[in-house]
Symmetry: C2
Subunit: 236 residues, 2 copies
DNA sequence: ACAGTTAGTGGACAGTTGTACACCAATTAT
DNA sequence: ATAATTGGTGTACAACTGTCCACTAACTGT
């Protein structure tokens, strides 16, 4: 392979070799420039993952290349690929949390489930790369990244658990049972996301079916709530 | 690195350079020899994955090395790593199906849920590498392998769905609803497996907690079944 | 205006990878 | 007994990898 710099996410050339003093993209402060290529690196990695790579098959070189930057420049921003990965975890969960906040605030008294699924579908469509990343990395071989994702998810689950107490039926559940329920709901959501990501992009009917399925699953789960007796004293 | 052939899963040397005609491991038919190294390759790959690699970070060379065989010998058994991967998918699901058969036959009239979870835990402990492989590959970047795993799971889900009709409560559910329920159960099981694999090996209390959690989740799900009305006519 | 810092370049190196090729010993078939 | 097949070996090569090093243009604080 001779041609370098294919699939460039963002070129970052400045005035090179010549005299052209202040034309083109050179009108940036140093900070701007820095954060710009940093983001280009992150985006390049995310893009490659969305395109079917898994995190460990990503190479520092290919990421740098796709970001339009020389390999060694990578180190100006991240100490290693792992560090970039962790940053990506943060970034991805930032958008996920934004989604959850939206879902929580747009509390329609009844159709909670239907609306939640709708929001999920919409967000997955909008931030596909981030979701691909989370799902992929959550089961990856890289222990550091996997645990980072898992613990973020555990956190979200806990938040959901405390949030569930708003519902009258769950008013006097033990925190343990609430955690259990929240875990079940979150797992179902994650499976739904995985299914969506596996379906061909922009296939409305497949997407609708997955969403419908998710909705029914969630409905079935909450349907059991009223008749729930906690485990130990389950015999009566 | 000078030393080759570290972490050898299975050495396969025959009489080399010298005259020692028929001693040691050379008393094998050609077929035996073949299937032997073939399995060594499979085991080597599986071992590396369990040790924290993901499938795409596996190299043909390292697998061959760990199997105690020269790289080019790999091609005598598999055309590519993908083919080896597919074989591994088959192998893994063969043990999984064996487990399901066991679970189905050991039908204790009541404690179905408790017993199912017990079997799952036990099998995961016994065939850890296979489960690691399935979970890992089910979300990997490699499209071929991922889809292979997903479709196997879809198959299992369908089988479970038809099997669920044994239960009186589900007698007259639509097949669609049964699929939905089966999917929910399977997803919960998979999440449980993933959680177990993430917990430190042989940590009895963590394992027990995960198992207990799974049991309660499954119980909650089936608890909703009696009051289920299918979606479209849900208003009454 | 100038010195320092910063974000980038380019070349080099040793290690690893997939694969092509020629070869060979032992098993198997004739 | 001899020929063919098979399952393995070893060498070789080009491509790619992470990282080290010296270098430099331009932005920045003084």
């Amino acid at each position: 392979m001779i041609c370098d710099e294919v699939h460039t996410v963002s070129v970052n050339r400045r005035t090179r070799h010549g005299s052209r003093s202040r034309s083109g993209s050179s009108r940036r402060s140093q900070q701007e420039r820095r954060s710009h290529t940093r983001q280009a690196l992150l985006d390049a990695a995310l893009l490659q993952i969305e395109a079917g790579e898994s995190f460990e098959s990503l190479s520092l070189r290919s990421v740098a290349r796709a970001a339009g930057v020389v390999p060694t420049a990578f180190y100006r921003h991240f100490e290693s690929m792992d560090e970039l990965g962790l940053t990506l975890v943060e970034e991805s969960f930032r958008t996920l949390r934004a989604m959850l906040r939206e879902a929580r605030d747009g509390l329609p008294p009844r159709h909670v489930i239907r609306r939640s699924v709708e929001i999920l579908v919409e967000q997955v469509r909008e931030h596909r790369p981030h979701f691909v990343f989370i799902v992929r990395v959550g089961y990856t071989g890289n222990t550091v990244l996997r645990h980072a994702v898992r613990s973020e998810i555990r956190l979200i689950t806990s938040e959901l658990a405390t949030d569930l107490t708003r519902f009258p039926v769950l008013r006097d559940w033990t925190t343990d049972d609430l955690q259990m329920l929240a875990g079940l709901l979150v797992n179902t959501m994650i499976s739904t996301v995985a299914a969506m990501l596996d379906a061909p992009v922009a296939a409305p009917e497949a997407e609708a079916e997955i969403a419908g399925n998710a909705e029914r699953q969630l409905r079935l789960i909450v349907l059991g709530a009223p008749s729930w007796r906690s485990g130990p004293r389950a015999d009566r």
